[in-house]
């Protein structure tokens, strides 16, 4: 015979599930939550698929296409590519990057190297020099998000001809911890 239930076994709770209704829906709910994470990753919510943004100068001076991720995870390497199509002569092209490009980011490479670099109101100004009309200037920047970096930061980028603004791309990058 089975006899009495083992010690500390409450037949109401442990056999008949009395008072344990939460155990019917809570595991399924938590499982659903867990599934959201890989699903979000598949949809690219956590980076780092590159996004493409193109802007054109209203006076037909140039166009600029930026291909870079807007969502990354800290510690990962990523690339930003700037394609500048000069439709007219740009005598002194200067690419100005918001501080968010470098704040808690490691800049591994700039290719081709700019003729000079300077700070412009807290932004990084890269002097690319002369871009003849009809030519493409392709600028590569290779980064790594620092492991402690997290949150959102502005990564606007502007193209100048000397002091004359030609183009601007407004963007933000989200860094997942």
């Amino acid at each position: 015979m089975a006899g009495a239930a083992p010690d500390h076994i409450d037949l109401g709770r442990h056999r008949d599930w009395e008072g344990r209704t939460y155990e019917r829906w809570l595991p399924n709910f938590l499982f659903g939550l867990i599934c959201l994470l890989p699903l979000g990753a598949l949809l690219g919510l956590f980076g780092q698929t590159p996004d493409t943004q193109t802007v054109a100068n209203p006076h037909g001076m140039a166009t600029m296409t930026l291909i870079a991720p807007t969502k990354i995870r800290s510690g990962l390497l990523f690339q930003a590519r700037f394609d500048i199509h000069a439709q007219r002569d740009i005598k002194d092209a200067v690419l100005v990057l918001d501080s968010g490009w470098l704040e808690s980011m490691t800049l591994n490479t700039i290719e081709p190297s700019p003729s000079s670099e300077s700070s412009s109101d807290g932004s990084l100004a890269l002097d690319l020099g002369h871009i003849p009309a009809g030519k493409l200037w392709r600028q590569y920047l290779e980064f790594q998000g620092n492991p402690v970096n997290a949150g959102s930061q502005s990564q606007g980028v502007s193209l100048y001809d000397g002091n004359v603004p030609l183009l601007h791309i407004n963007r933000e990058i989200r860094v997942w911890p």
Binding site: M1, A2, G3, A5, P6, I9, L11, R13, H14, R15, W17, R20, E23, P27, L30, F31, I34, S74, G75, P147, V148, P177
Partner: protein
């Protein structure tokens, strides 16, 4: 500071994940489970310490995890409600030789798996089992009928 926060977040995440995965799956260590456990540990480690290769960093992480584990254990010890929440509750699977099908389904255990557990406890037939209980550890206790 970030190491402690990472350890806290990952501990909570892993704790939740293991509660959802289910105790039975964790108690049964098939070869694939063993491999997955190693992969899981490796994935967690990278998120935990990232590029920190220092002994100090390693000590911060392991002492944080040890401290959380002690605190969680103490809370479970002091509060039955929290113990139930964190560790779950036993489930009766067999009563007096009768297999409780509904409970088996809820615990995602097949009857032949239960029979295997009975054989491991030197009980040939489920009819000879007085009580079978899925414990919070994921193991199944088999109490044979007294002849």
């Amino acid at each position: 500071m970030d190491l402690v926060l990472r350890a806290l977040v990952l501990f909570a995440g892993v704790y939740l994940l293991l509660r959802v995965v289910g105790r039975r799956e964790l108690a049964e260590m098939e070869p694939i489970d063993f491999v997955l456990l190693i992969v899981l540990g490796d994935a967690i480690q990278q998120g935990l310490t990232q590029d920190d290769y220092s002994v100090t960093g390693a000590f911060i992480v392991i002492t944080t995890i040890a401290a959380i584990q002690v605190v969680v254990g103490y809370i479970a010890f002091r509060s039955k409600r929290m113990r139930v929440l964190m560790e779950g509750e036993p489930v009766v699977l067999i009563e007096n030789g009768n297999v409780l099908e509904k409970n088996l389904r809820r615990a995602r255990i097949a009857e032949d798996e239960l029979a295997e557990e009975a054989r491991l406890s030197q009980v040939a037939s489920l009819r000879d089992v007085a009580w079978a209980v899925l414990e919070t550890s994921g193991r199944i206790s088999i109490i044979p009928k007294q002849s």
